[in-house]
């Protein structure tokens, strides 16, 4: 798979369709994002493991606003870019997306609904794997849910890993770092449920289910289960799926005429 990807990237660079390609580079046993500008470097190009490339791209585009960049994207990364473009963080017109479908093992590991981008260049489209926890939690009684989340969030060490790993947390100053909302210093775990409820609300209209928060969490809190439930609600309430359509405005910032509440 990586071999095919290298050929594709080298082709793009040779033809001059892009100035550089953003993907992952393996070196010294690690994988990190890298901007490939010449064909010589391509032998180090790899496609896995998954990396939050959405954190890197806005910086690169700010640095090189005129460059035409190729980017290797998975399904969730493509959705991320669409949401970032809506919020003025990146310019989609300056990008050439190289679609990479996840393998069924990867889809299963992430419990991803949609493990493929809209245009697949590399790999085969595999079926999505629903998160079984979402179903289990929807069936729970109120008290049971509260107990469940109280236990989960008691593990939180307030490392802000979820926030830092989230490619769609784009605010310059974060409310979770303001002492009016979250006590600063060694208050661990943070006050239940303020910290996590505020974060869940803030990601409601932007979470694209990329699972980066959960992968970053050292306490293994099932954050994407909570965000997944909200994602489902956004679809039910507004017919809105984050990352689907770049022209669709986030419903929480528009008036009723722009995107009305759907009749339940």
């Amino acid at each position: 798979m990586d071999e095919k990807l290298r050929e594709l990237v080298s082709d793009l660079l040779k033809k001059g369709e892009v100035d550089a390609v953003l993907s992952l580079r393996a070196f010294e046993g690690c994988v990190a994002p890298h901007l490939f500008t010449s064909e010589e470097e391509l032998s180090d190009l790899v496609s896995s493991p998954k990396y939050p490339i959405g954190l890197v791209l806005p910086m690169l585009q700010a640095e090189y606003p005129k460059a035409k960049l190729g980017v290797v994207v998975r399904g969730c990364e493509e959705r991320t870019f669409i949401e970032l473009a809506k919020r003025g963080q990146i310019d989609l017109d300056k990008l050439v997306l190289i679609g990479l479908a996840c393998t069924s093992e990867e889809a299963d590991e992430c419990k991803c609904d949609e493990p493929y981008p809209t245009k697949i260049d590399i790999g085969e489209k595999v079926e999505g794997v629903p998160n079984p926890e979402i179903d289990r939690l929807s069936k729970m009684e109120m008290e049971e849910r509260l107990e469940y989340w109280a236990d989960q969030f008691a593990k939180c060490i307030k490392c802000y890993g979820c926030k830092n790993a989230c490619p769609l947390c784009t605010c310059e100053s974060c409310i979770l770092e303001e002492k009016e909302w979250v006590k600063t210093g060694g208050h661990i775990p943070p006050e239940f449920p303020t910290f996590h409820l505020i974060r869940a609300y803030h990601t409601a209209d932007r979470c694209v289910d990329c699972k980066e928060c959960e992968r970053a969490c050292p306490a293994h809190i099932p954050l994407t289960t909570l965000y997944g439930l909200i994602r489902k609600d956004m679809q039910e309430l507004f017919g809105y799926r984050a990352g689907e359509d770049v022209k669709k405005k986030p419903p929480l910032v528009t008036v009723l005429e722009d995107s009305a509440l759907e009749e339940a």
Binding site: P193, L229, D233
Partner: protein, 148 residues
């Protein structure tokens, strides 16, 4: 007789409609429960969902958010946003296991003192049924030793 539970209720009222409605109810000497503490905001759109989350986590038993009727907002569309946000927030509270009935969004125009009284009475009764908010008991809960 045992002491009846007296809930602590916070009401966010917008300056142009519902606060005036509260005023009218007061001037009209209308009877209503005294559990509600009113906070005046310029528009119901000013009420961030975070306000509600914080209030509930600090032990407030119920939160009322009152604005102008849709279409009557002094800022034209302030309450549109409130309506949408609170729909999402209500669901979110439910997912967390916090009874969504502890939050109520409603509308009362400046002439509807009686409507204000009605909402406050109804809401106070609902919260009395639900009992005290015990979220504060969960503060400082320690993590159980679990694998994963």
């Amino acid at each position: 007789m045992a002491d009846e539970f007296e809930p602590n209720i916070l009401a966010f009222c917008c300056n142009w409609c519902s606060y005036a409605a509260a005023d009218l109810a007061g001037i009209g000497r209308m009877e209503m429960p005294t559990n509600v503490k009113v906070i005046r905001v310029m528009c119901s759109g000013r009420v961030k969902p975070e306000f509600v989350i914080k209030a509930l986590s600090q032990g407030i038993d119920g939160v009322l958010v009152l604005g102008c009727h849709i279409g009557d907002c002094h800022y034209i569309t302030g309450n549109h946003r409130t309506l949408k946000r609170f729909e999402v927030l209500t669901r979110l509270l439910g997912h967390m296991g916090i009874d969504p009935r502890r939050l109520r969004l409603d509308w009362a125009s400046a002439s509807e003192g009686d409507r204000f009284t009605e909402i406050v009475t109804e809401f106070t009764n609902t919260i009395k049924e639900l009992g005290p908010n015990n979220l504060a008991d969960y503060h400082g809960r320690k993590a159980a030793r679990v694998s994963q």
